[in-house]
């Protein structure tokens, strides 16, 4: 799920009551299993860039109220449980701050799960993490008045240079404008090295009103900090599509962006674009997608898949969209879906995808291709502001056997308020109760954090497995409603999940661990 998927409301008081009551009821609560696997503190070693967004409790006049916030930064792990340094930018309702980490710690268990505590001059923030490898992982903040989720990747310090950032970059950022309305912006720009951006195109969507493709306003640039933060942490500042960002370099192919205008809050990422001239023929495979955002009625999450034929036609279109508890499935019952796509003239990789279900209507999307197998994706249907990712899908088949193994996951969504989950999922090749997992999560509305919560349930694969599959996860919190997901496998290593419950909007992804 993109960083934009943080929003809003519901779930019955039953849930809150049950969360407060913690373990009880039908299932016998047991202690967490002893973690198994090959991870340890030694696997988190080096410098990592992170980005997350979520909800904070903000006070002003009147009662405290939730507010969107985002943080991005860099931390250095020594492989022995210590964070030896780091820096972050955080955009809160009280302002935008750049803070240095001191005397911080982390711990990784054998299954790749762990905790991270980052201390700065204002105190300590706490996180649960799961490593998908030694170079990447997912993260959720577990503080009382702050919940957030995102990811981190090991940084390549050799790329901490303006000259390293060169070529075409595709970006996707989202957040809240000063008005305040939700906004998603996707596009691409050319970096010529040395901090110069020579051209840029973007499509903005403010509160469900798309801008159409626009050129960058004047003033675009990127520049690594010259005060030491650039060379030490890979931090710089940039003007992209008219917004000012702090950015952290993961490597020459990836930047993490955090908006630094205190009147608004944006975050996202930019990815180096393959240097080819994109045409309709560039899209010639199956694709799976995952988006999140908001609609007129609240949070929205969407996942699905289609096949592009290289000539502008889309077939085998499936979609699951949860719009504030109203779930739309394509093809709809008794309906058929047909679709087309276009790739913009000029070869820059922008394009559109459109499909119509004979019962449910027409769905419109925009994309910018990072490569023929990867794109940023934005829904532009009326009054929907939602964005995410589009990935080439395996030809299949996908089966319980091909998916068997261990996965790191992060889910984010809204029930009564925002909730963020991070953990490990284990899949077996059995066809029945083949999924088990353990997770930590933060329920913002309840102000409660939960650790080592186990779940199990069936992942039901519908052959050939590249379409919608179902994962039902029932936790050891007996009165916590089971999570019902539609699962779209990208391949045997990556799966997109979108919740299809009426009282919760949630989405996320799972990534295979080694």
């Amino acid at each position: 799920m993109s960083t934009s998927t943080k929003r809003w409301v519901l779930l019955a008081t039953i849930l809150l009551a049950s969360l407060t009551a913690a373990c009880g009821g039908g299932r016998t609560p047991v202690g967490p299993p002893i973690p198994t696997g090959n991870f340890s503190n030694a696997n988190l070693k080096g410098q990592y860039a992170f980005l997350m967004s979520g909800t904070e409790l903000c006070s002003g006049s009147g009662s405290p109220r939730p507010s969107f916030f985002t943080r991005a930064g860099s931390f250095t792990a020594d492989g022995s449980g210590h964070i030896t340094g780091g820096l972050e930018d955080v955009n809160l309702c009280s302002g935008v701050f750049t803070l240095q980490f001191t005397n911080s710690t982390y711990s990784i268990t054998a299954d790749g799960r762990g905790t991270l505590s980052l201390t700065n001059s204002t105190g300590t923030t706490n996180y649960s993490i799961t490593l998908s490898s030694a170079t990447a992982g997912v993260i959720a903040e577990t503080d009382v008045n702050l919940t957030a989720s995102g990811s981190f990747q090991r940084q390549n310090v050799a790329a901490f240079s303006d000259l390293a950032i060169i070529g075409g970059y595709v970006f996707d950022f989202a957040g809240i404008t000063a008005t305040p309305n939700p906004e998603s912006v996707i596009g691409r720009f050319d970096a010529v090295g040395g901090g110069v951006i020579t051209s840029g195109l973007f499509d903005s969507n403010v509160a469900g009103t798309p801008s159409g493709q626009q050129p960058f306003p004047a003033g675009a640039f990127y520049k690594l900090d010259t005060n030491g933060d650039g060379t030490n942490f890979g931090r710089g500042t940039a003007n992209i599509a008219g917004h000012i960002f702090a950015y952290y370099i993961v490597d020459a192919t990836r930047l993490k962006l955090l908006g630094t205008d205190p009147a608004e809050a944006f975050s996202g990422e930019a990815f180096a674009q393959q240097n080819i001239s994109f045409t309709a023929a560039s899209l010639n495979s199956g694709f799976a997608f995952l988006l999140g955002g908001s609609s007129s009625t609240g949070p929205i999450a969407t996942a699905g898949r289609f096949t592009a034929d290289g000539a502008g036609n889309l077939t085998s279109i499936f979609l699951d969209e949860n719009d504030s508890g109203r779930v739309t499935l394509l093809p709809s019952q008794g309906g058929t879906v047909t679709g087309t796509y276009t790739v913009d003239m000029g070869g820059f990789g922008g394009g559109t995808a459109t499909w119509t279900d004979t019962k449910a209507g027409t769905f419109f999307f925009i994309f910018y291709l990072i490569s023929p197998t990867n794109a940023v994706f934005q829904e532009i249907d009326s009054k929907i502001t939602s964005d995410g990712t589009l990935l080439a899908q395996t030809a299949g088949p996908v089966s319980p056997a091909t998916l068997a193994g261990d996965f790191a996951f992060v889910w984010s969504g809204v029930s009564t308020d925002e909730e963020d989950f991070v953990g490990q999922l284990k899949l077996t090749s059995a066809s029945g109760n083949n999924a088990t997992g353990i997770m930590d999560f933060n329920e913002f509305a309840a102000g409660q954090q939960f650790f080592n919560i186990q779940f199990d349930g069936p992942l039901t694969i519908v052959p050939p497995g590249t379409g919608p599959n179902t994962l039902v996860a029932t936790t050891t919190l007996s009165s916590l409603m089971p999570f019902t997901f539609t699962a779209y496998a990208v391949d045997s290593n990556n799966v997109f999940l979108v919740g299809v419950d009426k009282t919760r909007v949630i989405a996320g992804s799972v990534v295979r661990q080694p």
Binding site: W8, C58, G200, D381, S382, I384
Partner: protein, 160 residues
């Protein structure tokens, strides 16, 4: 290299970059789908109406979508289902609702397969008025309090 020469070279490249940028930026922008027709429950501000009535029931967290607070409002034309967004947003603004309250709502009526839902932008009760949506129709409970502006928002106590 002489300073003047260096300046000329930098100037040349600057002009070149500017030209390149203008070449690209001046290109024809790609067509995008026109604004699609409104889907069910999309907030179309041009269709706003004002409805007055008496609260028959208020549910902070409805089991019926859209998720969030709903009230059933008895109007002259009958009872209608009114969607308010996050109950927490109402609470944070000290706006309470109870059976028997007389309220006035400004919003858009939307037909769904499950019936009509009235999406509220402004709700008034007695002398109290609360804006629930931006003029664009986005729920403020989604957009949150980013634009507290002069209220000088502060983070709750704790680490940043």
């Amino acid at each position: 290299m002489q300073m003047a020469t260096r300046v000329r070279i930098v100037g040349f490249f600057s002009v070149l970059l500017l030209l390149l940028s203008n070449i690209v930026w001046a290109q024809q922008l790609a067509d995008r789908p026109r604004q699609p027709p409104m889907r069910t429950l999309a907030y179309d501000a041009t269709q706003e109406t004002v409805v007055e009535g008496t609260v028959l029931s208020y549910t902070a967290e409805s089991a019926t979508p859209p998720i969030g607070a709903h009230l059933i409002l008895q109007t002259a034309a009958g009872a209608i289902d009114v969607h308010l967004g996050a109950a927490r947003f109402l609470q944070a603004n000290n706006f309470s609702l109870a059976t028997g309250d007389s309220v006035r709502v400004v919003g858009v009526s939307s037909e769904t397969r499950q019936g009509t839902i009235f999406l509220v932008r402004v709700i008034q009760k007695g002398g109290q008025s609360l804006v629930l949506r931006t003029a664009n129709g986005a729920l403020l409970s989604v957009a949150r309090t980013r634009a507290l502006g002069a209220q000088k928002a502060q983070q709750q106590e704790g680490a940043r």
